[in-house]
């Protein structure tokens, strides 16, 4: 049984179609990265799965429960880590966890709180108010709160958005531990590195649909080939290099101050400048080619 099954799901907000015929299946025990630019429909998909948005069309199932009809039962077995910090800041760390242990009907609240504190490495700060914690500790607590009832399925909505690299790495370690234990994870992100680092499979989403899906290496091989050549030069020379590469049938994307010629291993003579920097093709190449958006 798949942990999540979405078939032809549509969600509109007035004239805007946020989710447009979405088909998505997440098998049990994997971490699926939902990678897409802002506005791709990732957060709406998460809200559909928690019953906080109702679909206009399509079928949704989570852990065998039909949504939204049986959403409450599905949510009891699901953990959610939101994009925005919505902890109770004046309340202690342990009380924040205890409240959610009760909401999830955990029989032994004290044991669940202890387990969550261990997971978030916050035992020493359990009696401190949340507003006394550092940003990294708060994000760890937010993650632990979503896991306080040991859910079978975890929805991570942009878990590290806006965090500095050190805190991001701390969270990745925690998410890695979770994945190793066999918990099914659906993680929305617009960070390429996060998807590459954590996800068993990546689904690239744009305009409310999945446009490609597979293991990162598969996606790279399928869409970007083996090698990318980056050309650093003044704007007029970049334009000339782009024109030559495209004339040779290669795909070119902007890459900050440079251009990236994707699939450069297939280039004919002279199609890639001699001084180009050659590197292995990446998921970022795939993301930009598929979505037309700059990667973060």
């Amino acid at each position: 049984m798949a942990a999540i099954e979405l078939r032809g799901v549509v969600k509109r907000f007035g004239p805007i179609t946020a989710v447009d015929g979405l088909d998505l299946e997440v098998p049990e025990g994997i971490c699926l990265g939902l990678l897409g630019p802002n506005g791709a429909g990732k957060s709406t998909t998460m809200r559909l799965l928690t019953g906080q948005a109702l679909p206009d069309a399509g079928e949704l199932r989570a852990l065998g429960h039909e949504l939204p009809a049986d959403s409450k039962a599905a949510r009891a077995e699901m953990g959610v880590v939101p994009q925005l910090d919505n902890l109770d800041v004046d309340v202690t760390v342990e009380d924040n966890l205890a409240v959610f242990a009760r909401l999830y009907r955990v029989p032994d609240v004290g044991a669940a709180v202890d387990r969550a504190l261990d997971l978030a490495r916050l035992q020493a700060r359990r009696r401190d108010a949340v507003d006394e914690l550092s940003g990294g500790m708060r994000r760890r607590l937010l993650l632990a709160r979503g896991l306080v009832h040991e859910p079978k399925l975890v929805l991570l909505d942009e878990p590290t958005v806006g965090l500095d690299p050190q805190i991001r790495t701390q969270l990745w370690t925690l998410i890695d531990d979770l994945r190793t234990r066999g918990t099914t994870i659906l993680m929305s992100t617009h960070y390429i590195e996060e998807a590459e680092r954590l996800a068993d499979e990546v689904a690239v989403m744009t305009a409310g649909r999945i446009i490609s899906r597979g293991r990162p290496a598969q996606l790279i091989a399928e869409h970007a080939g083996r090698e990318t050549a980056e050309v650093y030069a003044p704007p007029e020379r970049l334009a000339e290099a782009r024109a030559i590469a495209e004339a040779d049938g290669l795909r070119v994307r902007p890459a900050g101050p440079a251009i990236a010629i994707v699939g450069s291993e297939r280039a004919g003579n002279g199609a890639v400048p001699e001084d180009a920097v050659r590197r292995a093709a990446s998921l970022e190449d795939v993301f930009v080619l598929l979505t037309g958006e700059e990667a973060e």
């Binding site: 928690t50 429960h65 109770d88 909401l103």
Partner: protein
């Protein structure tokens, strides 16, 4: 799976208790300030209105010393100010600024349970704070009476209705400063024509009719009934308060569902 389907019904006590436990955890961080103002305010009002006016303009109303008349009436002001206003501002802040409801609704809690828990919590708080003016008035010479033991129940029921009203308003306004309209158009007039400070039978006929529809007026009459003797019509008054609470409960759930579920 079937087990969890049958286990998770509507209006589950565990869900309502969980949401209320969150309120309690937060309340423990700010109860001192709230309690201080709840105790001090009736004392100040009784000194200013009760002793001040009774020494100069009004000695008694309907045979009741004015300080006791005001003291019993102030239960209603304590109830509306500790129910409608916290419900409006608290709900708005938790929804718009703190994203608290998004977190709670991701757990197995539905909007009906969330709103019910918020209303019950506010009702329970208001039932306690609503009794403070009565206790202060006893300190100012009001004789205790057995009927006063029903004051928490009257306060709780009325506060449920005003909590529902506040939640519904919070789900309706677009910006927090629009609560000024709600306060000016509803809260202040209800408070002024409740009969807390002066008898409404001195008011024009039209206002008297409106006052009879005012839940706060019914609360004032019930509290005074508890202190000075009930009448048969008080049963009808209490039934009216129950009806008010029930209607506001459903209205609040309807408004919040529209606001929270896309």
């Amino acid at each position: 799976m079937n087990e969890s389907r049958t286990r998770l019904r509507r209006l589950e006590p565990a869900a309502i208790g969980g949401v209320m436990s969150r309120e309690l955890a937060n309340f423990r961080t700010y109860w001192r300030g709230t309690t201080f103002s709840s105790v001090l305010e009736p004392i100040v009002y009784l000194l200013a209105f009760g002793l001040g006016l009774s020494a100069t303009l009004v000695d008694e109303v309907g045979g009741v010393p004015y300080v006791q008349y005001v003291g019993t009436g102030m239960v209603a002001t304590a109830v509306i100010f500790s129910s409608a206003l916290p419900a409006m501002f608290g709900t708005f802040v938790k929804h718009r600024f703190q994203n608290t409801y998004e977190a709670i609704l991701a757990a197995p809690v539905d909007v009906e349970e969330l709103v019910s828990a918020e209303m019950l919590w506010i009702g329970a708080r208001a039932a306690v704070y609503g009794c403070v003016p009565l206790l202060v008035t006893i300190g100012f010479g009001l004789d205790p009476a057995p009927g006063m033991l029903l004051t928490p129940l009257f306060a709780f029921t009325t506060a449920l209705g005003f909590a529902g009203f506040g939640v519904a308003m919070a789900a309706t306004v677009a910006k927090i400063d629009q609560f000024n309209y709600v306060t000016a158009l509803f809260v202040t007039p209800l408070f002024l024509v409740s009969g807390a400070f002066f008898p409404i039978d001195e008011l024009p006929q039209g206002v008297q009719i409106v006052a009879q529809l005012n839940p706060l007026h019914q609360l004032v009459e019930l509290v005074r009934g508890g202190a000075f003797g009930f009448e048969a019509v008080d049963l009808l008054r209490y039934a009216g308060l129950l009806g008010f609470a029930l209607v506001m409960w459903r209205v609040a759930i309807g408004r919040m569902s529209k606001r929270l579920i896309d």
